[in-house]
């Protein structure tokens, strides 16, 4: 009766359930799928927390100290020039979602972005803060150590809702840049997808391997939900606020696809 209670397997199991529900007799059961999406959200939160804790542990202590020193010197309102890497979208995530979203066009995606953009990133802990038009970097403030880290494109997901016209840039949020080297993290995170700066560059590829248990697909699917680093937040209230809003926003696309029937 034992089963793996780790977040990753729960995520894949949950996604399979949602996928299977589409072919069940009697139509999609809204109640069951809602409950499954809650498990998905919970597992995702834990997964992201674990993932980030892993990244965090990999950093050298000296790098941490370096950043601390740099924080003193930085002008918080100085925006960084956009480091536009025109990377192609790594669409394993999207394509894995394709059957779940009825193979539809961009509409379901944009609903992700739209819903993500609905949030008011008021807290300095907001992972999207300071990104404005810089959606290829993620800046995070760790409230425990007051360390700021900026992660480049390819290593961790960043929703590019910020580039969407309806997403207002956040001038108040501090933008801090870490000048360190993230090379050590590359090997662990290169499988994680990212979105290019422009929505127009979103391309879909055919999903050839709907194997949800594949690690990279799982990571990509996690990134789809655009959670950022909400797991980091030490303040419970902020966590609740952001996680719940994000969770619900990301849930939305699933229920939307479900309700389409």
């Amino acid at each position: 009766m034992e089963c793996a209670v780790d977040a990753q397997s729960l995520i894949s199991i949950s996604l399979m359930k949602i996928h299977n529900s589409r072919t069940q007799r009697g139509g999609i059961k809204l109640h069951k799928n809602l409950l499954v999406s809650y498990v998905l959200r919970n597992a995702r939160q834990v997964y992201i927390k674990e993932k980030y804790a892993e990244i965090y542990r990999m950093q050298q202590y000296e790098e941490v100290m370096t950043v601390c020193n740099e924080i003193q010197e930085l002008n918080p309102l100085d925006p960084e020039p956009e480091d536009a890497e025109e990377e192609d979208l790594e669409v394993a995530a999207l394509s894995c979602c394709a059957p779940l979203q009825d193979g539809g066009g961009k509409e379901p995606e944009t609903s992700f972005y739209r819903s993500c953009c609905m949030e008011t990133p008021g807290s300095p802990c907001d992972p999207f803060a300071g990104n404005g038009s810089h959606c290829n970097k993620t800046t995070v403030l760790d409230l425990d150590t007051h360390v700021v880290t900026t992660v480049e494109n390819r290593y961790l997901h960043q929703d590019c809702c910020c580039s969407a016209p309806q997403c207002a840039p956040v001038p108040d949020s501090p933008v801090r840049k870490r000048k360190g080297d993230f090379g050590c993290c590359a090997s662990d995170l290169e499988e994680v997808s990212d979105f290019s700066a422009s929505r127009k560059r979103v391309r879909r590829e055919e999903c050839t391997d709907p194997n949800y248990t594949d690690t990279s697909n799982i990571s990509n699917l996690i990134s789809i939900f655009g959670s950022g680093f909400s797991g980091l937040l030490s303040r419970q209230a902020d966590l609740e606020q952001i996680c719940s809003k994000q969770a619900l926003a990301s849930l939305g696309a699933w229920t939307r696809a479900i309700v389409a029937f």
Partner: protein
């Protein structure tokens, strides 16, 4: 020992039915195939006694309704209450296809509710996911004979052959029970109907789906009033659904509905036409120490039932049954653990979908005991006065006539005592989701997959 005890309480002399653990429950009957291979269509999906307890209705996944009638006690065997025998069987719902959404609509009967009897015929409401039907079940024990225009076998007679006129006479015939659909209430629910409940005014009833509750008049099929709508403007913001709803047994303006978040809302239809704003809100704060991946699932309420008195209501979530006093909203007055040993197995139960099982619960006639089902064909009874509980099993092995049911126990610790069953040995395919308690007597009906067990107390 079973029987009646008379004692003097604060409010005078009460007649108290000793029930539950003091009652020795014994096997009475079992209905259904013995075959190990269970046809999906035969799986019982709802069980309901009528107001007098004379009739017992079951619905199954194949859309059929079977009604059993309580036979009179025979003089030859006075130690037995009468048995329940098949009274009527009919096909209530057929599978349908929604062409617009390319969806099949299951014929499974989700709920049956009886109407109070007003004349010789019996009426019940049965519903599947989308359509509610009012059925009239009537007896015919006379037949007209001696028609002028047709023969006894129904063939039309040649008009030129008719030379005289006679009055047809009613002759007795073998009892025939007919079921006919009198009303069909369709096209009012976008989502899956989970509950129907007849109002105490005997004129209206409510039907609830995942997001809406509608109020119907029994005579009017082409329209209904929407009284609750929790569908958000943006479906992406959906956080909870309606899981069950019931009318108050005496106050025709009051009803309750439960949600997937473990909350219950009581609404008063006099307050507003649309009862989106509740009059009372019942919620027990979550224990943060018991938080898990599955907290939301196990707090979802699968059934809500008013007590016969109308003063209490009972809710069933995955692991427990709670009794609420309608006058106290912040916590239940009683909580009973049904199968707490499953808390550590939630992950497996999620994998095999058992965690989504919707157990029902029921009160006994005097509201002194409650009953609900579990796995391994176990069902549990809780005596509210003595706080004692018992676990019984519905199995063919203990199905000898008048055999007393032996209490069962699940061993939770390391050491398994004799006669105990370990958690890992439980059969999760044998689940008792539907049970019903006779409104006046200690007779219970327990649906175990495709079999219906009837148990009663031992009469000395």
């Amino acid at each position: 020992m079973a029987g009646k005890i008379v004692f003097e309480g604060r409010k005078g002399i009460h007649l108290l039915f000793l029930v539950c653990v003091c009652v020795m429950w014994c096997f009475s009957q079992v209905k259904g195939a013995i075959d190990e291979d269970v046809a999906e269509a035969d799986i019982i999906s709802t069980v309901e006694f009528n107001y007098s307890g004379e009739l017992l209705a079951t619905g199954d996944k194949g859309g059929r309704v079977v009604i059993f009638q309580h036979e009179q006690e025979s003089k030859n065997r006075p130690h037995l209450r009468g048995e329940y025998n098949v009274y009527s069987t009919f096909q209530s719902h057929e599978p349908e296809f929604d062409y617009l959404k390319s969806l099949e609509i299951e014929e499974k009967i989700n709920k049956i509710r009886w109407l109070p009897q007003q004349n010789a015929a019996h009426f019940l409401l049965s519903t599947n996911d989308k359509t509610i039907k009012l059925w009239k079940i009537s007896e015919r024990d006379k037949r007209a004979e001696g028609y002028n225009l047709k023969d006894e076998d129904g063939r039309l007679r040649d008009p030129f052959r008719i030379t005289s006129l006679r009055v047809p006479v009613l002759m007795p015939m073998d009892l025939m029970v007919e079921a006919s659909p009198r009303r069909i209430f369709a096209n009012a629910h976008t989502y899956h109907i989970n509950s129907i409940s007849v109002n105490s005014d005997h004129e209206t009833y409510l039907s609830a789906d995942d997001l809406r509750i509608n109020l119907w008049h029994l005579e009017i099929t082409d329209r209904s009033f929407n009284i609750v709508d929790i569908k958000p403007a943006n479906m992406e913001e959906l956080t909870e659904v309606i899981t069950a709803a019931e009318c108050h047994p005496h106050q025709c303006n009051v009803f309750v509905y439960s949600s997937s978040k473990g909350t219950i809302r009581l609404c008063d239809m006099r307050a507003a036409a649309l009862c989106d704003r509740h009059s009372k809100f019942f919620e027990e704060p979550e224990d943060p120490s018991s938080r898990s991946f599955f907290s939301e699932i196990i707090s979802s309420i699968s059934d809500v039932k008013f007590s016969h008195s109308g003063r209490y209501m009972m809710t069933r979530d995955y692991l427990s049954v709670k009794v609420w006093d309608l006058n106290m909203e912040n916590r239940p007055v009683e909580t009973y653990q049904v199968h707490e040993y499953l808390r550590s197995k939630l992950c497996s139960l999620y994998e095999n979908d058992c965690i989504f099982d919707k157990f029902e619960c029921c009160w006994n006639g005097s509201d002194s005991a409650i009953m609900t089902g579990s796995y391994n064909n176990f069902f549990r009874m809780f005596d509210r006065n003595t706080r004692r509980d018992i676990t019984l099993e519905a199995s063919r092995e203990s199905s000898k006539p008048r055999a007393t049911l032996k209490p069962r126990k699940v061993s939770t610790g390391g050491k398994r005592k004799k006669d105990e069953i370990s958690v890992d040995s439980l059969d999760f395919n044998k689940k008792i989701l539907h049970t019903a308690w006779h409104p006046k007597e200690n007779v219970i009906a327990v649906a175990a997959t495709n079999n219906l067990y009837i148990f009663q107390d031992k009469i000395n």
